[in-house]
């Protein structure tokens, strides 16, 4: 499942919704990303998350489908927030549930690497009276190449 929303999410409730009533899931890995109060040495007081409605949902669905092709997964979830966020706020949640932990860990990591390099979101950080669009990180591109095949 994928969702793009302005509202916050509750990790425990999302995990419970995926695993509730099921007894075939042995491992659940969640990743949540949060707004930090600094970007390098620059303070961050707020963040604006822009996205490309329509393409975002398609791209997230494609990323999720690819994870299910690669690993035996019982359930997955991607939730990404958009709009204005403050330091400490949740940005993104990824959940991967499988019978065994290796698949759950790898799939969650894969989902994040692909989301970071393929899903059309852009962050604008504000702090100390200045605002700037966040630069893409080379380390994210490198992380994504791990999964090339």
């Amino acid at each position: 499942m994928i969702r793009v929303q302005t509202d916050d999410f509750d990790i425990g409730a999302e995990v419970a919704a995926l695993t509730g009533g099921r007894t075939d899931i042995g491992a659940v890995v969640t990743f949540s990303g949060l707004v930090r109060d600094a970007s390098g040495s620059a303070p961050v007081t707020s963040m604006e998350l822009e996205h490309y409605p329509g393409m975002t949902e398609k791209e997230l669905a494609r990323i999720e489908a690819e994870a299910h092709e690669r690993w035996p997964l019982q359930a997955t979830l991607i939730v990404h927030r958009v709009g204005r966020l403050a330091p400490g706020d949740n940005i993104v949640l990824v959940i991967a549930a499988s019978a065994h932990r290796e698949a759950a860990f790898e799939a969650a990591s894969f989902l994040m690497d692909y989301l970071k390099t393929r899903a059309p979101f852009w962050k604008r950080e504000e702090g100390a009276g200045k605002a700037h669009w966040v630069d893409a990180r080379e380390s994210d591109d490198k992380a994504a190449t791990r999964w090339k095949r």
């Binding site: 990303g33 998350l49 822009e50 996205h51 490309y52 329509g54 393409m55 398609k58 791209e59 990404h80 940005i91 993104v92 994040m112 989301l115 970071k116 390099t117 393929r118 899903a119 059309p120 979101f121 852009w122 962050k123 604008r124 669009w133 966040v134 630069d135 893409a136 990180r137 994210d140």
Partner: protein, 83 residues
């Protein structure tokens, strides 16, 4: 054809989207950008460095060589930074 601009590309072009009719012979993304750059300073600034421009044709990631014939929507944006 609908064009969409995001993040600093939007700031430089000064708009989020517009409808355009590119001249005949505009076959791919690169040719579309070349034409856009003739339309004003904002476009010149937005497309000054093609190394940092990403695009999507009909909501699928593309590159400078991606054909645009028949496309209804082309988007330009910086490398993505979500997550």
């Amino acid at each position: 054809m609908k064009l969409l601009y995001f993040a600093w590309v939007k700031q430089k072009t000064g708009m989020g989207e517009e409808d355009v009719v590119p001249p005949a012979g505009t076959g791919n993304v690169h040719q579309l950008i070349a034409w856009l750059k003739t339309r004003g300073e904002g476009y010149e600034a937005a497309f000054a460095d093609l190394g940092v421009i990403r695009c999507a044709v009909d909501q699928e990631h593309g590159d400078l060589d991606t054909p645009i014939a028949g496309a209804s929507e082309v988007a330009f944006f910086p490398p993505v930074t979500g997550g």
